[in-house]
Symmetry: C4
Subunit: 213 residues, 4 copies
C-alpha cells in the first residue's frame, strides 16, 4: 500500500487550489474538479465532491474514490461526475494529480478547432513550462474530444488518446474546458497556468490580423 | 406568515454579494440591485436601496418591500427603482432571490442581438449549472427586452415572458444588463456566475473567425 | 473663506483612491492625477504631487495649490504637471473634485475617434449614473482634445469646452485618457466608474460585427 | 567594491515583485526572471533562481552571480537560465535592475511584428513614464529578437542592440516576452508597468477598425 500523501494534506491543497482557481475565473458556478492520488496499487484518489461551489470549498468536500471511481467505504457525499476521467488519466499516465478547469478561452478554442479534433501550439517559450519540454521549438498537439454526458465513453476515449505517442500535456473537451495533470500537484497546477496562458495567447493572437509586412 | 429568512440574514448576505459583484465589475457606479424573499403569503422582499454604491453597501441599505413593491411601514429610504421587476419575478416563478447585474458583456450582447429579441446559448457544458439542466445538449433562449424607464411596463413584460414555456433562467434588458434568479440566494448567485461566463464566452467566440477547416 | 473640507481628509481620500485606481489599471506608472477642492473664494485644491507612484501614494504627496495652480506658501514638492487643467475644471463648473485616469480603453477610443473631436455615448442605462441624467435616452457627447505638453493651451481649451452647452460629464485627451469631475469626490469617483464602464462597452461593442438580423 | 545595495534588501524587493507580477499575469508558471545589481566593479547581481514559482518566491531563491553570469562561491541553486541577458543589459547600460516579464500582450505582439524586427510606439502620453522621455511626441522603437535557447547568442545580440543609438527602453523576444530595465529597481518596475500598458493599448487599438471619419 504505497501511500503518496494523506487525505488531509490532499484536501488542504485542493481547497486552496479551488478557491484560487475560482477567483481566477477557471472554476465558476460549480464547474471544475480536482484530484490528487493518495495511494497506488491499489489506486486511491482524493477528489472534489460533485456540484460544489469552489469559492467556498471545504476539506470535507474532498472524497476518496478507488481505481474504478467508486467512493471508498464509509464515504458520504457523491464524488465529481467526472471522476472516471480522473481515474483514466491517473492510470494511463501514472499521474499524481489531475485538474479540470473551465475557462472562457479553453471553452471557445475547444469549439473553434473542434472540426480538426485539436490544434498545435508551437514556438512559444511558455511551452517550456510543460514537463520534459526544453525548447520553444516544440510542437504541442492539444487534442479536443466531443463533449458527452456519458462519462464511461469519454473516459475510454481519454485512455485511448493517452496511449498513443506523443502523449499530450493536456486535452480539451468541446465547449467544456481543459484537463491537465502532473507527476504531483505542483506540476499539475503549473500545467494549468501554462496552458491557460497559451490558450489566451493563441486566442488573442488569432483575433489580430495576419502578421505585419 | 411563512417566514423564509430574516431581514438580518438577508441583509448580511446581500452586503457580501454587493461588494463581491462590484469588485468583479458587475455592479459599478450605483448599478445592480439584489433581493431576497424573506416572507411569502403575503410576499415580503429584502431589496437594495436605490442609487447606493455597492462597493460600500451596508446592512441598513437593505429595505423591506411588500408584494406591490412598496416599502413596509416604518421603512426609511427609497427601494431600488427596479423593485417592481424583482416582485414580478418573485411572483411569477416563486423565486427566492432575484439578482440584477450590469456587466460589459451583458450590456453589449443585449444590444447586438436586440433585433431578434433574444438569442440561444447551446451546447455549452456550463449550461448544466442552471437549475434543472442536466446536459450540455440544452438550448437556452435568453430573451431581451427593450429598455424603458417605465418600470410598470417592463415588469408587465417580464411577467408575460415568464408565463410562457419554456421559462428561461435569465433575461436581458437592452444595453442595461442581466436579471436572473433562483429558488434561494445561493442558486441565484450561481446563475449569475454561469450566465456571465456564458455571455463572455459567446461574445468572445463571436469575435473569432468562423471555425477552422 | 468657505472651507469645504480639510487637507487631511482630502489627502486620506485621495490616497485611498490612488491605490484603488492603480490596482484597477487606471493609474499605472506615474499616470493619473486627482484633486479635491478644500476651499473656495479664493480657490484652494488638494492635488497629487507630480510623478508619484499611485500604488504607494502617501498623504504627504497631496499638495495645496491656489486658483492659479501655484503651490501655497510653505508647500514643498511639485504639484502635478496637469494642475492647470484641474483648476480650469474646478473654476468653470464649480466642481468639488477632479479625477484624471489613464486606462487602456480611454486611451484607444480617444485615438480612434480623434478625427471627429469626440463621440456620442447613448441609449446605455449606465448613463443614468452621471449627474442629472435620468434616462438611458440620453445622448452624451464625450469631447476629445488633441494632446499637448503646453498645459496653458490645454487648460484654455478645457475652459472653452466647458462654457458651451451642453456641458459634458467628462472629456478625453487623445492617447492620454479621461478627465471627469463631480460636485464632490464621491460623485467624481462614480463618474470615473461609469465612464470607464461605458468606454469599455463602446470599445468592445465596436469590435463585434454589426447587429444580427 | 562600490556596494549599491545588500543581497537581503534586493531579495526582499524581488520577492515582493515576483508575487505581484505573478498576480498580474506577468510571470505565470515558472516564467519571468528579475535581477538587481548589488555591487559594481566587479559586477554582482542578485537574480531569481531558475524555474521557481513566482507566486511563492522566497528570499532564499534569490542568488548572487558575477559579471560572467556564474554563481558566486558558496551559492547553492542554479541561477535563471537567462542570467546572461541580465548581465549583458547591466553591463551595456549600467542598469541597476533588469526585469523580464512574460505577458500575453508582449507574447503576441512580439510575434505579430516579428517580420520587421520591432515596431514603433508613438504619440502616447504614457511614453512619458519612460526615463528621459518628456513628451508624448516621442517615437519609441521596440526591437524584437528571434527566440533561441542559446543564451550566449541572445545575450550577444542584446549587447549589440544596446550599443546602437537610440537606446530603447525595452526589448521583446519573439513569443517570449519583454525585457526592460532601469537605473534602479523602482524605475525598472515603472518601465514594466508603462510598457505592458502600451503593449495592451497598441494591441487592442489594432483590433479596432481604422479611425472613424
Amino acid at each position: 500500500m504505497p501511500q503518496v500523501t494523506t487525505l488531509k494534506n490532499a484536501a488542504e491543497r485542493l481547497v486552496e487550489i479551488g478557491r484560487d482557481f475560482h477567483r481566477r475565473g477557471w472554476a465558476l458556478g460549480t464547474s471544475g474538479n480536482f484530484s490528487i492520488v493518495i495511494e497506488r496499487d491499489p489506486l486511491i484518489l482524493a477528489i472534489t465532491e460533485s456540484s460544489v461551489d469552489k469559492s467556498r470549498l471545504r476539506a470535507e468536500q474532498i472524497l476518496c474514490v478507488d481505481g474504478s471511481g467508486k467512493p471508498l467505504e464509509g464515504v458520504t457525499g457523491k464524488p465529481s461526475a467526472e471522476t472516471l476521467i480522473h481515474v483514466a488519466i491517473a492510470r494511463a499516465l501514472n499521474a499524481g494529480a489531475v485538474l479540470h478547469t473551465h475557462s472562457v478561452w479553453s471553452t471557445i478554442l475547444s469549439d473553434f478547432h473542434a472540426g480538426r479534433a485539436g490544434f498545435f501550439i508551437e514556438q512559444y517559450e511558455m511551452l517550456k513550462g510543460l514537463r520534459d519540454v526544453h525548447t520553444h521549438e516544440h510542437r504541442e498537439w492539444l487534442p479536443i474530444l466531443e463533449n458527452s454526458q456519458d462519462m464511461e465513453a469519454i473516459s475510454t476515449q481519454v485512455t485511448l488518446l493517452l496511449t498513443e505517442a506523443p502523449v499530450p500535456h493536456g486535452l480539451l473537451i468541446r465547449r467544456h474546458g481543459l484537463y491537465t495533470w502532473g507527476s504531483d500537484i505542483d506540476e499539475a497546477v503549473r500545467h494549468v497556468e501554462i496552458l491557460e496562458f497559451l490558450l489566451e495567447s493563441v486566442g488573442r493572437r488569432q483575433m489580430m490580423e495576419p502578421p505585419a509586412l
